[in-house]
Symmetry: C2
Subunit: 477 residues, 2 copies
């Protein structure tokens, strides 16, 4: 069960930015994965050369098809394989002859099956590729995605619909990549890279973290883990990110049944949950406890400057959501601070008496007043005790113009401290404005006050985990 | 600060099913709440008589307007008031003369403001209405909604877009009612009644719980609470529901700042959070810790039969989501049981070898096989150790037809045990099929595996809190 040595210093960039991709097992039959991979690459807008390989066809989906890898006229950077397991070893040999630089091995039937031959085959594939310096994603993976290169080397074309952004996800489960993607389509999270590690025959979390650490398009590294044989390389690579790029991890397998499922799923023990938690903390990895928490934290970390302390100002249109958020703030280590008298004076001047003008600040009857809202947020941000702002605004018929007003009012302005918002409205009503506010870098929006508070807390936790002070940077998508 | 005595045995049904509604302060000016209330009632499809009252106008939004309540020719069951606070006392007198049976008092400027005159005014209004036997919702409320009567007596027309169903929400915060409504529009939760209690001048949680307990359209009572002066009547009414109708509560105000916000917000102390938790348990109220948890539990309780034990079977298309769900199951008191050998035999016969066929059951390569999926679910449901089923299916291009297949396969069949699902797909892809599956009563769908597991756990917790065994009922929307 020992981990096969990784591909060493192999340039993983070629996996994500290939100039050409061969699809071994390309097909038009919708019952075959090869057809879905073809559609992913064709519909995704990939600009490089595509070479379908299928000895039985002259063309596949309107593209000339090649009988074998060796017959492809040009160079092949990335090879996606969707053939039965028993044919993979021969194809890896062909990849080596052809000088292929990276492989996505979507095929299953390796270490995850209940048959020792699967494990033996995987070991042989891994050894051969490693000796040739070829990194393999998989086997038993859905594939990989690089949104910034319009590359969808997976069997699910819908990954091409994801927004582009700064989150990169490395996952031990393809199912979780799909879940995360579909949730993200509803909440505006932008992705850089997504990789399903599958059975990790010669690449593991550590290799990907090392690569993503150096990848300028990746603002935050998000991990979904079930358990790995030797977590040390991963922890070391994560520790190297410390101080420059946040790493967050959702580790499942705390339950006894989950543990046995993991063993079958990707051929590894889920291991001791508590030991992982301790190791994460030492490596500066922010541990989260659910899919949505992973996504919310990743979104905030990719889009916000890091706060320099736990002080939070809560600016709200309604008292109820603010109370819910304050509970979470306090539970998660943020402090709803008392404003300085200077800040208090500024806010008192902006709001009518009888509204709640301490922290939380209830805009109450002044929620239609954009200048007052902007003034309150600015006053809070200028307060030295405030390190981040929670902005909670729930739609009502009487404040329908609030989101548009905020867009107009803010212009290109960017705040030096994170503004984590929960602006909620009926579907379709504020969606465009919220997208614009996020695109402008004015704020990051979460679906509930509690999740906004938890994301704000994640920003401060991530900052606390970092060893050295980080330079203040402005917000940006 | 003592609680004004409630309206006693007044029939609260008249608030939710009035044959006529007067709007005192009706307006066409979009800057006035009176215009939003008019739109709510007109657009909501309310079938009863509407009487706008505005002495300055002959008509409002195409309807004849009356100079005062007394000039209205017919009887007035419900009166919605959106006038400034100083004019309310006179209008309550008019209501009494006219024989109005219930009032929604949207006006603010009462106990919630930092001026003793507000509190005094509220006490007077409450006393007068109580002596006349008139229940008042408010003051300082957004209003009330009865989806089954197409009645939207609130200042937010969008409540009329909510799906009809079995959840009734009683909330101390209008902001939270809005938040809950907008979240629900994205997740298919169906409502019966929604009430913003506001300052509770002569009606409190206890009165509403008593009414909803006897309301056949309400399957589950959901409470959002900040804190009340005397929780005993509420706890007593909730205890009376025990064994017949689930009551769930989200209580905020655990933080010290939240506590002071609550005092200002609805004029009451948030009180001791832990004391509330204990009282909830004694009263058989299921306590939840967030807006989404409240909604998820309410949705499941409104749509599913209650499980008779903690045993859960996990049927999944992908191992990762199942592991995440199993962690939550175990943490929340469910047991991922070992199947009987009989069940195991049935499942082995349905699935290919090499897939994970114990609990969790990974459909793996058989995810396109609807007969196998149905057979596995049925085998699990027939297992005496299984009390509920978690069904986790994530879309991939290769299983796109799964949701439709499930709809066709199930027909009108209903299972005797709850099936809590997490079927996820890109927006728009499976939405219609999931709605049909929920409408058929086949399952209840939640957005993540963790939330599905937590909702399944809430079903069992709600069952555990009930004093006596409940009859098995089939699922239904």
């Amino acid at each position: 069960m020992g981990r096969v040595a990784g591909p060493g210093k192999a340039d993983l960039g070629i996996l994500f930015d290939p100039t050409s991709v061969a699809i071994v097992g390309a097909s038009e039959d919708p019952g075959k994965l090869g057809s879905h991979v073809m559609r992913s690459l064709l519909n995704g807008g990939y600009k490089g050369a595509l070479y379908p390989v299928n000895p039985k066809r002259g063309e596949v989906m309107g593209m000339p098809s090649y009988p074998s890898l060796s017959k492809i006229p040009g160079e092949v950077d990335l090879c996606v394989m969707v053939l039965p397991a028993e044919r993979i070893l021969g194809q890896i040999r062909s990849c080596i002859s052809k000088g292929v630089k990276g492989v996505v091995l979507a095929t299953s039937g390796f270490k995850e099956v209940d048959d020792p031959r699967g494990e033996a085959l995987q070991a042989e594939v891994g050894k051969m590729a490693t000796e040739a310096g070829i990194p393999i994603v998989g086997p038993n993976t859905f594939g990989l995605v690089n949104r910034h290169a319009d590359l969808n080397a997976s069997f699910t074309p819908e990954f091409g619909l994801l927004k582009k952004g700064g989150v990169s996800l490395v996952s031990q489960s393809g199912g979780m990549c799909h879940l995360v993607a579909f949730l993200s389509m509803r909440s505006g999270i932008g992705f850089s890279k997504i990789v399903g590690l599958g059975n990790r025959c010669n690449m593991d979390f550590g290799d990907l973290i090392r690569y993503l650490h150096g990848d300028p398009a990746t603002k935050v590294i998000a991990l979904y883990m079930e358990g790995i044989d030797d977590p040390r390389p991963m922890m070391e690579e994560a520790r190297r990110c410390n101080g420059s790029k946040p790493v967050i991890a959702y580790k499942v397998g705390s339950s006894t049944v989950g543990d046995s499922a993991s063993r079958s799923h990707t051929g590894s023990m889920a291991g001791d949950h508590l030991a992982y938690r301790g190791a994460f903390r030492q490596a500066g990895i922010l541990a989260v406890e659910g899919t949505e928490e992973l996504l919310d934290a990743a979104k905030a970390l990719a889009m916000c400057p890091l706060p320099q302390g736990p002080g939070v100002a809560v600016v709200t249109g309604q008292a109820g959501p603010a109370m819910a958020a304050c509970d979470v703030c306090e539970r998660e280590g943020l402090r709803v601070v008392r404003f300085t008298s200077e800040t208090q004076r500024k806010i008192y001047a902006l709001l009518p008496p009888f509204s709640l003008r301490d922290n939380p600040v209830d805009m109450g009857p002044a929620w239609y007043n954009m200048a007052a809202l902007k003034g309150v947020i600015e006053a809070a941000i200028e307060d030295n005790g405030v390190h981040s702002v929670l902005l909670l605004m729930t739609y009502a018929s009487a404040n329908a113009g609030l989101a548009e007003g905020l867009v107009c009012m803010l212009g290109d302005e960017r705040w030096q401290k994170p503004v984590v918002a929960c602006m909620t409205a009926p579907p379709g009503v504020w969606d465009g404005e919220i997208e614009r506010l996020e695109g402008m870098g004015a704020l990051v929006n979460l679906p509930t006050p509690e999740r906004a508070a938890r994301a704000a807390a994640a920003l401060w936790k991530a900052r606390s985990l970092m060893a050295s002070p980080v330079p203040v940077r402005t917000m940006g998508p």
